[in-house]
Symmetry: C2
Subunit: 337 residues, 2 copies
């Protein structure tokens, strides 16, 4: 295993390019600014998902603009001209109540609850503070902003409106802000997937959040051990959703990325290539193995493979063909089970 | 209002037929056997949803086969040759724990939890007892069996397998069972909607459960007052799902019905007609008003109307056109808000 790790690390300087020449972006998911070193060390083409939650969860009150600015700037600067996608707050009040006296929690179904963009739009002071910190940090590198849990066009338009307001406010006060900051959304709610053609017209990029998308699509809390078996990235309904979202992104001329666990699991790399995914974002440590698969596959064969999987009706048949093919094709026998 | 009620009641003997001759089935949702009288009194074409839960929730242990048999037989007999669709148990252990000593509840997200068909497949003794009672009652009229919360083909196939086993077992013991008992499914999980073409091949009918389908599609617990505003039957993603499911039912030659609240709300009657819905099931009291709208509309104009709604990107525009059109077109000013 150690020998293979060394081989994989050698891949760092090589591009994630398929045998027929499609260049894929492999990016890192990070939770805290310090992880940026591992991202660089593993050859990440950027940060695909910087979760901003760590600042909000730690005790001691909500972070002010300055604290956030410094945290965001650290990562943006460290990555140089590589893109850094920072997701706006993706929490609900249940996780913030120790920092927000006025908040009383107690939701019966928090996964279907007052979270993420819903929470931010209802608490504009928290949202605007974060956006101010982000925009100020944008002057130091290549920032992208990503809104989580968008379910419809209204939420996206409201978020963009507030972002525009904050930008104008900062500029009028003499702060420097990058000229172009791509603003994209996570596609993780089924309704967003269903109208991804509409949302693509107002987004600079998509990042598919498979963890939530799968949970909502099959109506399963995967933390619930009695039913976690239903959480299946290879459910044909999930595959169709992925295909639909990626196609709609491409029709609108925007990039389709993914930052859920599925993106970092080498078992699914060929499937995602075949579906047309442009960017994979994952834990830094997963990048070399996924890159290795990408470099030994062509888009043509990946598309043909996905086509065969998608003609099957039964999850078990799909899973079986997927595993046997990946195990035969690549010298990898330790796919996560 | 009383005068209109009398007029509406006169409709009972008239068919729910559009101006251009499509005959719609209007059926009743009932919770307890006694409600069957109201269903007949309001001219229901059958029972579209008989919730079997009342027997399981009352204290005193789970109902045995005989108690269930009598309850089901009562409704089936009372409806004569009109169809009675009985849904198998649609509860999770949280609602049954007073009747099941071994069950410890405490799910964090019960709406995404161990419920309905998932619970029944994990407790085959409960499921088989109910199916035995249903099949025995089938000899007394026109029964249809409906499985709730199907998320994929596997659950449907397992359920049909068990149903077949129970039928054989009963026959071999000399019980009489109806020759043909249509077995259908609720479409209320996004993954089921996404693969409704696949599921339609193994189902005798679909009944769209809009309450859950909308909750999962927009990822909202509508009981959560902070976010209930996102629960929107006119979300364009929901409309597309409805269209997809109904079209897939028709391609497979099966009936597409609906038993969620949307089916009984006259505000949506024209939309649902335009989408091609064949059967509407609702509280008995709602039947006359929905029938009145159906009788004063044509499929052609309903399709044209839905076409216009579905070209719109924004929920608010859709909602506005819907309300103004329905209020102008029909002499109804008290649409639920
Ligand atoms: Mg998420
Ligand atoms: Mg339901």
């Amino acid at each position: 295993i150690q020998k293979r790790d060394v081989q994989l690390m050698k891949l760092n300087e090589l591009p994630a390019e398929t045998k027929d020449g499609k260049l894929i972006r492999l990016k890192a998911n990070i939770e805290i600014p310090e992880e940026v070193d591992a991202a660089i060390g593993h050859g990440a083409d950027g940060i695909g998902l910087y979760r901003s939650e760590f600042l909000f969860i730690r005790p001691g009150g909500l972070p002010d603009e300055e604290e956030q600015f410094l945290a965001y700037k650290h990562v943006i600067q460290a990555m140089g001209n590589k893109p850094v996608t920072i997701r706006t707050l993706d929490l609900g009040g249940d996780k913030l109540k120790h920092n927000m006296k006025e908040f009383s929690s107690g939701e019966k179904n928090p996964i279907l609850g007052w979270r993420a963009i819903r929470f931010c739009l209802a608490h504009p002071e928290i949202f605007r503070t974060q956006l101010r910190a982000l925009l100020r940090a944008s002057a130091f590198g290549n920032l992208r902003i990503m809104f989580p849990l968008i379910s419809g066009l209204g939420e996206l338009e409201q978020s963009l409106q507030i972002l525009g307001d904050v930008r104008q406010e900062l500029r009028s006060k003499g702060h420097s802000v990058a000229d172009h900051i791509p603003a994209g959304i996570m596609i993780e709610v089924p309704s967003a997937a269903m109208i991804s053609d509409i949302l693509a017209k107002r987004s600079h990029f998509f990042s598919i959040g498979t963890n939530d998308l799968i949970q909502y699509t099959v109506a399963v809390d995967r933390g619930n051990e009695n039913i976690a078996y239903l959480y299946d990235p290879m459910h044909p309904g999930v595959l169709r959703f992925l295909k639909m979202v990626i196609e709609n992104a491409h029709k609108a001329g925007i990039v389709a990325g993914m930052c859920g666990e599925m993106a970092g699991d080498p078992l699914y790399t060929m499937v995602l290539l075949g579906l047309g995914l442009d960017e994979f974002s994952m834990s830094s440590f997963g990048i070399p193995q996924v890159k290795q698969i990408i470099r030994s596959t062509s888009i043509v064969e990946a598309e043909e493979f996905v086509g065969r999987l998608m003609e099957m009706d039964d999850c078990n048949d799909i899973e079986h063909l997927l595993r046997t093919t990946m195990e035969e094709k690549f010298d990898i026998t330790d796919f996560r089970r």
